[in-house]
């Protein structure tokens, strides 16, 4: 049976080498092995979106991705979203201004999803934003403000 093996991950432009069993998910590799806890675990079964990260520019769920499967891909997490000088991403800024979160736990996933949503050209109307942000659950019910924040960021980056 397989034991640990070296796994090289490219996370936020930095190469990280870990010793992992094949069954370790990208989410647990980030949180438990790399102590990068910005990516959240809300359900661990693909039903809430809190673990959303970008793999090769696409938003995906880290809980249903094996870490070993991500070797050779560029991974971006919430920690890698701000500019090199620490300037917040326009979506991060919009989330603060629009009060698009309360407890903050789903927020990194919402923001990673929103950045991709805008990039995909799916932020054209409030209804389109609602549908294409539907994979990120928020129990505090910040949805109306999330829609405002995504719209604002989309307009700012248009």
């Amino acid at each position: 049976m397989a034991s640990v093996r070296p796994v090289k991950l490219d996370i936020n432009g930095k190469e990280k080498t870990l010793s992992l069993e094949p069954r370790v998910t990208l989410l647990d590799a980030l949180r438990e092995h790399l102590h990068m806890t910005g990516t959240k675990k809300g359900c661990d079964q693909g039903q809430c979106g809190a673990c959303t990260v970008h793999v090769d520019g696409q938003r995906v769920l880290a809980c249903l991705t094996l870490a070993v499967q991500s070797e050779g891909s560029a991974i971006t997490t919430i920690e890698g979203l701000a500019g090199p000088d620490g300037t917040p991403h326009p979506v991060q800024q919009a989330f603060i201004e629009e009060d698009a979160f309360q407890c903050g736990y789903c927020t990194p996933g919402q923001i990673m999803s929103a950045v991709a949503c805008i990039r995909e050209g799916r932020a054209g109307s409030d209804d389109e934003i609602r549908e294409f942000m539907a994979g990120n659950l928020c129990r505090c019910g910040a949805y109306p403000n999330i829609v405002s924040a995504v719209r604002k960021a989309a307009e700012a980056t248009a």
Partner: protein, 766 residues
């Protein structure tokens, strides 16, 4: 209709006052930057050396007795350090839970031997890695002697339940109902509903010494939980530290230490290593109970003109087979409308479920569902507009206590909400409004929440650089505590809010009661205000009297504004300059709002670690409540029965809002949760074995972004200084109350079908 002309600001929940200081201003969340960067540290994210991972094993039967637990296969699994069960664990000291349920005997173990519900903890595995612990947990074999399962209160064997002492009686309801020209009788039901904060439950337990325990756990009440651990392990309260700087949502579910909390602390103790226990999402559905299923029978008697003559209310909720939980179903029924004859009874029905628990607006929420649907039914029966019916029964004083209201701006809320919604355009006939294949329904209902208040304590520190720290063990679960306490201190001290930082969520800090009952904002702003004023007085005294103060003897008093301290006329200096001149590194003041006579340390502890300190209003001369009304539009597909909420306008009276931007977020959040309650959320239980079949976020459906329309909130509150020191009333739990009945009433208007059992799913409308 006799609506009052609205005179409020539309579009957001600004309270209409124009604050001069920082308190009451719409500033962004001070903890926002950390949260959007993923840099806010939640409980399970604290990094400790030598951390081990614990996974619990839950029972898969609903009732019975454990005959044997075979730990051997799990113990032999790779990386496993420890396998615990009832036969191999530490015995703790028993203590009552939040609601006064005390396990039998003096000893307590979180591991079951007699199974009372499906999903009860029977074992736990600790291993080096999470994956190892998860895999080994699958290999624990539990042999059970099956017992008979009564899964829900729908099972006829559950019976009618046991009465609880919440009787409310006045007048002669039977006589009044017998003679009432119009009588409405109906039964309303709500299902099991779960808090499901997106951060699941879990903790890290760390024994720093044999008699010192540190717990990192999401908490709505660090002092109460610290006390719980201290009792379990026979430690002095001071020896337990609970750390919870950020809480990923709670909604009532994170107020107390739970059985899995004990498991982690036991494992850490036995292994002398820090142990992390993450409750999996499916496990959360039985790790904490959520709102119990409820059933309410209502009889309303009224005159032809719509004057209420009598209310007869009989409610029941499910509880656990081995513990009592009361969802106070008559709580809104008894105070919402002027009614001369009244009776309310309540029972609890034991079934094989985990003990239910607090979930946003416990009691208030299902209570209003029944009453507000019944009022709508009565309005239909009488041919009256539902707003008009409510206005005709608006009570001048609290009908239950006879006390005057501290404030009750429900008339203003009806007016403002109806105006913004365009309610006068409503054709009252059901199925009269449509667009293509969509039936359109407009409905409304009211909500309310009491103002509770406990004492609080805070420390204010003025530092050498003129910056200010506010410290309290109070927590912020997205409710805005960090922000509004900074605003409060800035306001009272006279410094810019940017100069204030708030530290929360650590039981080593000055004490605070539970963040529940929507009490925390009011009581902690009061405590911080009191403390900051004292700090201000002290600073001014130093400025006037310290031998090295440049302001000494320049005036009889000093004024602090914008971070500068000055005589009433003339130039001043910055606080930092004053601190430097008098040679102080820090000025530190701690104050509390405990009743004057209760000052012993035992009394202090009791106030902050039990619910005993929660003032429910008996000794207060005014009846204190927040109020709201919701106007809702739904669209129902005539073929499919699918329901979409397409518009919501809510007008809310929550008194003064300390930060309208953040209060508005909580209002909207409550409305969103109310939409889920009305249309989606249902804990589905297998009647054969009491297992929760919807124990995940796909099958326990909470609303997605796509389910939520534009929501307009209007604050009609004004500062209510009879309610609280700084004029606020209940905010966090207010807005969910009344949403579900407003939607049910709108669904009736759209379809002509009256649905009295939540959630209203598509098949109920086909």
């Amino acid at each position: 209709m006799t609506l009052i002309e609205p005179r409020v600001k539309h579009g957001d929940a600004s309270d209409g006052t124009t604050p001069s200081g920082p308190l009451g201003r719409e500033i962004v969340r001070t903890d926002g930057p950390l949260k959007v960067q993923g840099a806010a540290t939640y409980a399970l994210e604290h990094q400790l050396e030598g951390l081990l991972h614990c996974v619990i094993v839950q029972s898969t039967v609903g009732a019975g007795r454990i005959v044997a637990v075979d730990r051997s296969a799990a113990e032999a699994s790779p990386g496993v350090r420890l396998v615990l069960d009832a036969g191999y664990s530490l015995m703790l000291r028993s203590q009552p839970d939040f609601f006064g349920n005390k396990p039998e005997g003096d000893d307590y173990t979180p591991f079951a031997t007699d199974i009372h519900h499906n999903g009860e903890i029977v074992a736990a595995v600790v291993a080096d890695t999470l994956e190892q612990a998860q895999a080994a947990a699958q290999r624990v074999r539990v042999e059970v002697e099956f017992g008979p399962v009564i899964a829900t209160h729908d099972d006829p064997r559950a019976g009618h339940g046991n009465p609880v002492p919440l009787d409310k009686d006045w007048g002669d309801p039977d006589g009044a109902l017998a003679e009432a020209p119009v009588v409405l009788k109906a039964t309303y039901e709500t299902p099991r509903e779960y808090n499901v904060p997106i951060e699941p439950h879990g903790l890290i337990a760390h024994w720093e010494a044999d008699d010192r325990l540190t717990i990192y756990e999401p908490s709505q009440w660090v002092d109460g939980m610290a006390n719980h651990y201290a009792t379990w392990f026979g430690l002095p309260f001071e020896n337990v530290r609970v750390v919870s700087p950020f809480v990923g949502g709670g909604f009532g579910s994170k107020g107390q230490a739970l059985p899995h909390s004990a498991v982690a602390a036991i494992a850490a103790r036995m292994l002398r290593r820090p142990v992390k226990l993450a409750v999996s999402r499916p496990q959360t559905f039985t790790a904490y109970g959520g709102r119990p299923a409820t059933r309410q029978r209502l009889k309303l008697g009224a005159t032809e003109e719509g004057q209420l003559l009598a209310i007869d209310h009989d409610g029941s909720n499910e509880t656990a087979a081995n513990a009592a939980f009361i969802e106070t179903l008559g709580i809104v029924t008894s105070m919402m409308y002027a009614v001369p004859n009244f009776r309310s009874r309540q029972r609890i029905v034991p079934v094989n479920t985990v003990t239910p628990g607090a979930f946003r607006a416990p009691g208030k929420n299902p209570s209003a569902f029944a009453l507000e649907c019944a009022m709508d039914e009565l309005a239909v029966e009488l041919g009256l507009d539902p707003v008009e019916l409510r206005l005709r029964n608006e009570p001048d004083v609290d009908p239950e206590t006879g006390k005057p209201w501290s404030s009750r701006r429900l008339r203003e809320a009806y007016a403002a909400g109806a105006d913004a919604f365009g309610w006068t355009q409503r054709n009252p006939v059901p199925r009269s409004m449509r667009e293509g294949r969509q039936l359109i329904g407009w409905g409304m209902a009211c909500g309310t929440h009491p103002v509770y208040s406990s004492p609080g304590e805070a420390m204010v520190r003025i530092l050498a650089d003129g910056s200010v720290e506010v410290l309290s063990s109070a927590i912020d679960m997205g409710t805005g505590t960090y922000t509004i306490l900074a605003q409060t201190a800035a306001d009272a001290l006279g410094v810019p809010v940017e100069q204030v930082t708030t530290k929360l969520g650590d039981s080593r800090l000055p004490r605070a009661p539970v963040a529940g009952g929507s009490q925390l904002a009011n009581l902690m702003t009061a405590a911080v205000h009191t403390t900051a004023l004292a700090a201000r007085e002290e600073l001014i005294a130093l400025g006037l009297t310290d031998p090295n103060s440049p302001l000494r003897d320049r005036a009889n008093t000093l004024i602090i504004a914008d971070g500068r301290i000055a005589p009433p006329s003339g130039e001043g200096i910055s606080i930092a300059e004053l601190m430097a001149a008098i040679g102080r590194d820090v000025l530190e003041v701690t104050r509390d709002t405990l009743p004057r006579k209760e000052r012993s340390s035992a009394e202090r502890l009791k106030f902050f670690t039990t619910l005993g300190g929660m003032e429910r209003g008996t000794s207060i001369p005014k009846s204190r409540h927040s109020f709201c009304t919701h106007f809702v539009e739904v669209r129902v597909d005539e073929d499919f029965g699918t329901i979409r909420v397409s518009r919501v306008v809510s007008a809310l009276d929550a008194g003064r809002l300390y930060n309208p931007k953040l209060a508005d977020s909580q209002f909207k959040g409550g409305i969103v949760m109310g939409i889920g309650m009305a249309l989606l959320e249902e804990g589905i239980t297998d009647p054969r074995n009491g297992r929760i079949l919807s124990a995940n976020l796909a099958d326990y459906r909470i609303p997605t972004n796509a389910d939520i329309p534009h929501i307009e909130t209007i604050s009609v509150g004004i500062p209510d200084y009879d309610a609280t020191l700084l004029g606020g009333k209940a905010v966090g739990e207010l807005a969910i109350v009344g949403v579900a009945p407003a939607i049910a009433n709108a669904v009736f208007h759209a379809t002509g079908k009256r649905i009295r059992r939540l959630p209203i799913t598509l098949e109920s409308l086909m």
